[in-house]
């Protein structure tokens, strides 16, 4: 995957431990992620700093859990900027998050 780092080891271990639940995990991550992206876009459009921060924080954590390191890092940048009330590159970061999420989604669907 160009430009995107995904820790496949983490994913493999998770799959091993969770067995059938792994599929559910991935499905939930993808569906939650998609709705979180929508809410995040709306928050950025209205410059709602605390909403941006909270959603970015959640997505940061859940992506880290699945070994989606690049996505997690980008979310973290957005979360921290929002905490400092910096919105300059919010849209740029959102686009980055969105494309990284799509890439991750492809990888995850492959593993299923």
């Amino acid at each position: 995957m160009p430009g995107t780092s995904i820790d496949l080891n983490i994913l493999k271990k998770l799959k091993q431990i969770m067995d059938d639940d792994f599929n559910e995990l991935i499905e939930i991550f993808i569906s939650d992620g998609q709705s979180q992206l929508k809410t995040l876009k709306a928050a950025i459009d209205s410059s709602a700093a605390s909403d941006i921060r909270r959603i970015a924080h959640t997505l940061k954590g859940s992506s880290a859990n699945l070994g989606l390191l690049t996505l997690s890092e980008t979310c973290k940048t957005l979360e921290y900027n929002a905490a400092e009330n910096i919105f300059d590159d919010a849209n740029e970061l959102f686009e980055k998050i969105k494309s990284e999420f799509e890439e991750a989604k492809l990888t995850l669907e492959e593993i299923l």
Partner: protein, 571 residues
């Protein structure tokens, strides 16, 4: 172990839950802080993994609430947060968080942290449980002390420990150390004192104090001698006390009629007669009470001549075992040294008497001025006039109607060896006419009459040898030997009552099988010795009888004496 995961993100809950289940934990989950607080109360998890940022109620608030709900039990809370935010971390600790965990979760680290906190939790809960037990023991002890105080009061009230000739250091909690002190006045005039030390500590040590005081007071009131009292106490304690529990005790009788001190000491380490210029140890020659069976128990008392203002000094082992800063014990040697002390000549001390002097010496030795509960010390002064006064103050008697009656008693030589008739007669008289009849020396009269019949009638002892202190001792040891070998003879006692307006006139007759004496000598003797003087112990008996009786007559043979004695009911 049941673990509660609190996180608003489903994937986080799933991942963590999967790890924990794999390691064998029971997992429950909440989606926000409020749910976590509710679940904590309903599900009682033993450990909580807590996210910080959550809707409805965040992790800080939830942690605060849960910690305040679990003061009696340690519930570890691990915060799920990035270790990078210092401010957030410090807030986690402030609200009561116990550890942190960062994403992505590492299963090994997670397990290690849970294990570590589980150990802390176990330790905390053990300590907490021990503290709870300790508190309940403490409360129990306070209650026991209360009981001990009540027992203490109930056993001391009937006695005469507050008498002016008794100086006593005895804590109300002394029973907790097993120490007990009893004192009572004899109806014959004289004082019984018991210094005891039960084995063991706590309320159990005072178990025997109630039967002990019952026997002591009731037998003393009936006029029994300490050898009878001590035998009965041993009998009762042997029956009632559990194995391994017994009573070290020293019983002392101050017999003011004969100017002697009788004592029986079973394992009380410090018992002395302080005579101002010399000290006699009242040595322990017996086992403690409650150990021996009746047949092997020895109730033999030792007898010492006393003078007015001699003092009996008694102490349980608390004083001897008092330690100074170096851990050295006060010990018997120092105690005895305290007694080698002449108050008149020693101006260095503030103490005005031997009692204060001993306590002062103990303070100096231990370096502290706090007398502990363990110390029991008594000094009893042999003050004839005062003790006489005590016995006449005794009792509040019920009025009995005086009536006509007569009883005879016949004691053969073998009965005399084991029975003291005086308490028996006292008891009968008390039953018929009430105990007021014993006021004003009746018991003394009976005791003297019996002693005369026995000593001079049956045993043919020569009382003139009592004139010297050595002879005095000789007299008592001769008496013991002769009584043991006695193989013939009797004493007949006859007592009758004739009612009068205020009470009654008793006619008391003592007759013995002895050879009698030359009664004409009596008149000369009474002329020679108009009053008692301390040098003439041998004259004391008859003049005492004369003092209390309206008339005293002898038969010609000199082996039968008839006295009349008047008694009156209380107004």
């Amino acid at each position: 172990m049941k673990i509660l995961i609190v996180d608003d993100d489903t994937t986080n809950r799933l991942v963590l839950g999967a790890y924990l289940k794999k390691d064998g934990y029971t997992v429950i989950a909440a989606e926000n802080g409020q749910e976590a607080v509710d679940m904590f109360q309903s599900e009682a998890p033993e450990l909580i993994l807590m996210d910080v940022m959550m809707p409805v109620m965040d992790g800080y608030e939830a942690t605060k609430k849960i910690k305040s709900l679990s003061v009696e039990k340690f519930i570890p809370i691990i915060f799920l947060t990035a270790m990078t935010d210092e401010k957030a971390l410090s807030q986690c600790v402030e609200v009561g968080g116990d550890d942190f965990l960062t994403k992505p979760y590492n299963r090994v680290i997670l397990k290690a942290k849970i294990d570590a906190l589980e150990r802390v939790s176990q330790l905390y809960n053990t300590v907490f449980e021990q503290k709870r037990i300790l508190v309940s023991h403490k409360e129990h002890e306070v209650k026991e002390r209360e009981v001990a105080r009540k027992v203490y009061d109930s056993i001391l009230t009937p006695g005469c420990l507050s008498a002016e000739n008794i100086q006593l250091h005895l804590s109300p909690l002394s029973l907790f150390n097993g120490d007990v002190v009893l004192a009572a006045v004899k109806p014959t005039g004289g004082l019984h004192i018991l210094f005891g030390d039960f084995t063991g500590h706590g309320l159990a040590a005072s178990l025997g104090a109630l039967p002990l005081s019952d026997i002591f007071y009731s037998m003393t009131a009936k006029g029994y001698s300490i050898n009878d009292v001590v035998r009965e106490i041993n009998h009762k304690l042997k029956l009632q006390l559990p194995m391994g529990m017994f009573l070290a005790a020293c019983l002392v009788e101050i017999d003011i009629n004969n100017n002697v001190l009788k004592y029986w000491n079973g394992a009380i380490p410090a018992a002395y007669l302080y005579k101002g210029n010399s000290v006699v140890e009242l040595k322990s020659q017996h086992l403690p009470l409650g150990i021996l069976e009746d047949k092997s128990f020895n109730d033999k008392v030792d007898i010492i001549e006393i003078h007015d203002y001699d003092q009996v000094v008694l102490s349980t082992d608390g004083i001897l075992e008092t330690k100074n800063g170096d851990g050295t014990m006060f010990g018997k040697e120092r105690f005895v040294k305290c007694l080698d002390f002449d108050i008149e000549k020693n101006k260095e001390t503030n103490a005005s008497n031997i009692f204060e002097h001993i306590l002062e010496a103990l303070d100096d030795f231990s370096g502290s001025h706090e007398q502990t509960d363990d110390i029991t010390l008594g000094v009893i002064t042999c003050d004839t006039d005062y003790i006489n006064q005590l016995s006449s103050q005794q009792g509040n008697y019920k009025k009995f109607a005086s009536s006509n009656w007569k009883f005879d008693m016949h004691f053969h030589y073998d009965a005399i060896k084991s029975i003291d008739p005086v308490p028996l007669i006292n008891q009968i008289l008390g039953e018929i006419q009430g105990h007021q009849i014993q006021q004003n020396g009746l018991s003394t009269v009976l005791t003297e009459l019996f002693c005369n019949s026995l000593d001079h009638g049956l045993l043919q002892l020569d009382s003139s040898i009592k004139a010297t202190p050595e002879g005095f001792m000789q007299f008592y040891s001769d008496k013991e030997m002769l009584l043991k070998d006695l193989d013939t003879g009797f004493i007949k006692i006859s007592i009758s009552n004739t009612p009068t307006e205020t009470g009654g006139d008793l006619t008391i007759v003592f007759q013995d099988s002895g050879q009698g004496f030359d009664t004409s000598m009596l008149e000369k003797l009474s002329l020679q010795i108009p009053n008692d003087t301390p040098q003439n112990f041998s004259g004391r008996g008859l003049s005492l009888i004369n003092n209390y009786c309206n008339s005293v007559t002898h038969n010609e043979a000199g082996n039968c004496i008839t006295c009349t004695y008047s008694w009156s009911n209380p107004d």
